[in-house]
């Protein structure tokens, strides 16, 4: 499988990264090089093998169902590029 410029633009759009025409052109061979190289994994016989999800056996823990944080609005907003009236603000999304 190899990618063309349209696929690169689509992937960039899915990843929410703006790419110029020139950048997309440059990325086509770069990504194809890497994808061509990782494709060798296809030759490994994995029949009957479960995909690995955890490297070290561990169990998911439960905790008490109690509130253990909160009341930190100003600290949460402290690094926001734009915050007004105690909210994160973004460009208008509804006309």
């Amino acid at each position: 499988m190899s990618v063309d410029i349209n696929t690169v633009k689509k992937v960039a759009s899915l990843a929410r990264i703006a790419v110029s025409e020139q950048a997309a052109e440059r990325l086509v061979p770069e990504l194809n090089n890497i994808l061509g190289w990782v494709e060798q994994l296809g030759e490994v016989d994995v029949s009957g093998v479960e995909p690995m999800t955890a490297v070290i056996p561990n169990h998911l823990r439960l905790r008490q169902d109690v509130v253990n944080d909160g009341d930190a609005r100003d600290r949460v907003l402290a690094n926001a590029p734009q915050a007004e009236h105690g909210f994160f603000t973004v460009p208008k999304v509804i006309e």
Partner: protein
């Protein structure tokens, strides 16, 4: 009086406790070294006042008689650990100016243990790189130089940490290791570094790259210092779902370089055709050293080794593309809002302006291998091969206790040498990635100097939770290698 910046962590700790010098004198000496070493670009932010404050607290504690395990020891902190009130950037533009309102668990443990902070250390952007050439804040330059005098890489991603320790700009530092980011820089700069078992150190408050692989660890000049630091860093943390709820062993107290009864495996597949003869010769010396320490050496096979790198370069970018989705220009970090742009345009513009080329490349690869129609062929396949790689190690543990390999396929290369070819750069991690995929503890120790006068490292890989075995074998190597070389001061 000896130069305080030449002391190890153990010597500083013990010297402060004995009153041979004050913690303040130590902090002042390192603060001055950090300032004098700016041309190496190892630190992104310097925090001399924090180092002094911790030192004063240590001196007061000594007077009161309640010293802590790291009282008086100033450290460098990789700029991937969130530090409350001190800029944390992951060496990226998108987090430039980000000042966390909280402290990472690992750094907090170190401060609770009495350590002080000299500053935030440079790294590859979001820890993605093997040469420290992807930082938004510029390349870190290794204090080591070869005969041609070119600027060399300190390795990556923990290159600020490795350069600073090697140049005596800190006695020890934190690192993080996703595919070799502690071990390879340690090897390139003639220091030691350990990545513990996945889950030993909390990931909470560490800027995430690939969550199933990311693991914090220690970097210092000696094996003993690594044991001391790791003991303070490790431990259960309910805030990290993958944190192991196990007691932290007394690694320092149990250090022992006698390896009688231990079996050391030499993986056949780590000696590919075309392996640098110098690396091969170093490896052979390592074998002799471990035999001299009483160990029995056996050949083992890890048949899926050659698939480890391509597996890593699917899984790590896939997880990165998901983890880095959080940088959206809304909650923290950079916002790029072009005129009349809507929300989607703002996301795309922010991320285009805020991420470097290598980070974008990996996000794109990750997005592609996770996208509809390709998920099974790439991502699921990689997760299955990862299971086979882990099984190889499990099979090896039936015939041996530890593995000995080289850390990296070469000595440090020149800055710029491999930057044009991402694949050539990825191959640097060929010996370190397999242990990362299997979550195993692994450590690099200096083995000697190559023909160009640059350090080469040996790697010990251990069973899950056997950091003690790894440290002990590393100590046996350290004692026999007698590595005392240091970079000549040119900065």
């Amino acid at each position: 009086m000896t130069d305080l910046t030449d002391l190890t962590v153990a010597e500083i700790r013990d010297g402060v406790a004995a009153g041979s010098f004050s913690a303040r004198e130590v902090a002042q000496a390192f603060n001055a070294a950090v300032e004098a070493g700016r041309s190496l670009n190892a630190y992104i932010v310097e925090t001399p006042e924090r180092a002094l404050a911790a030192a004063d607290a240590a001196d007061t504690a000594r007077a009161r008689g309640d010293l802590k395990p790291l009282s008086g020891v100033p450290l460098g902190m990789k700029d991937l650990f969130c530090t409350e009130g001190v800029q944390t950037t992951a060496a990226s533009h998108i987090l430039e100016g980000f000042v966390p309102a909280y402290e990472s668990t690992v750094s907090d443990r170190l401060w609770q243990a009495g350590a002080g902070m000299l500053g935030k250390l440079n790294l590859d952007q979001f820890a993605m790189g093997s040469s420290n050439e992807t930082s938004h804040f510029g390349n870190v330059i290794s204090p080591w130089r070869g005969p041609d005098g070119k600027d060399l890489t300190p390795g990556g991603s923990s290159g600020g940490s490795s350069a600073a320790i090697s140049a005596r700009l800190c006695p020890a530092a934190t690192g993080t290791d996703t595919g070799g980011s502690i071990r390879q820089p340690a090897a390139f700069t003639g220091i030691a570094g350990i990545k513990p078992t996945y889950g030993r150190c909390s990931r909470w408050g560490i800027v995430a790259f690939a969550s199933s692989l990311d693991q914090a660890g220690a970097m210092a000049r000696t094996v003993k210092d690594n044991a001391i630091l790791l003991e303070a860093m490790a431990g259960f943390d309910p805030k990290d779902a993958t944190s192991l709820d196990l007691p932290v062993p007394q690694w320092e107290a149990n250090l022992s370089s006698g390896l009688k009864g231990k079996k050391i495996g030499i993986p056949t597949e780590y000696r590919p055709d075309g392996l640098d003869p110098e690396i091969s010769a170093l490896w052979d010396r390592g074998v002799e050293w471990l035999k001299d320490a009483g160990a029995e050496v056996v050949e083992v096979s890890l048949p899926h080794t050659r698939y480890a790198l391509p597996t890593y370069y699917i899984i790590a970018p896939a997880e990165a593309s998901s983890n880095l989705a959080r940088y959206d220009g809304v909650r923290y970090g950079l916002r790029d809002l072009p005129e009349n742009a809507g929300l989607q345009d703002m996301y795309a513009a922010t991320r285009a302006a805020g991420f470097g080329d290598e980070v974008k490349r990996r996000i794109m690869i990750g997005t592609y291998v996770l996208s509809a129609g390709f998920y099974d062929a790439y991502y699921t396949q990689a997760c299955k091969v990862r299971a086979l790689i882990a099984r190889d190690f499990e099979a090896a543990w039936e015939t041996c206790d530890l593995l000995l390999t080289p850390t990296a396929p070469s000595a440090a290369f020149a800055l710029g040498e491999k930057q044009a070819d991402p694949l050539a750069m990825y191959l640097n991690d060929v010996f370190t990635v397999p242990a990362s995929l299997a979550g195993l503890p692994a450590m690099s120790v200096p083995g000697g100097l190559g023909s160009t006068g640059l350090p080469l490292g040996l790697q010990i890989i251990g069973k899950p939770l056997d950091e003690q075995g790894v440290l002990n074998a590393a100590l046996a190597l350290e004692e026999r290698a007698g590595f005392t070389a240091r970079p000549g001061k040119w900065w």
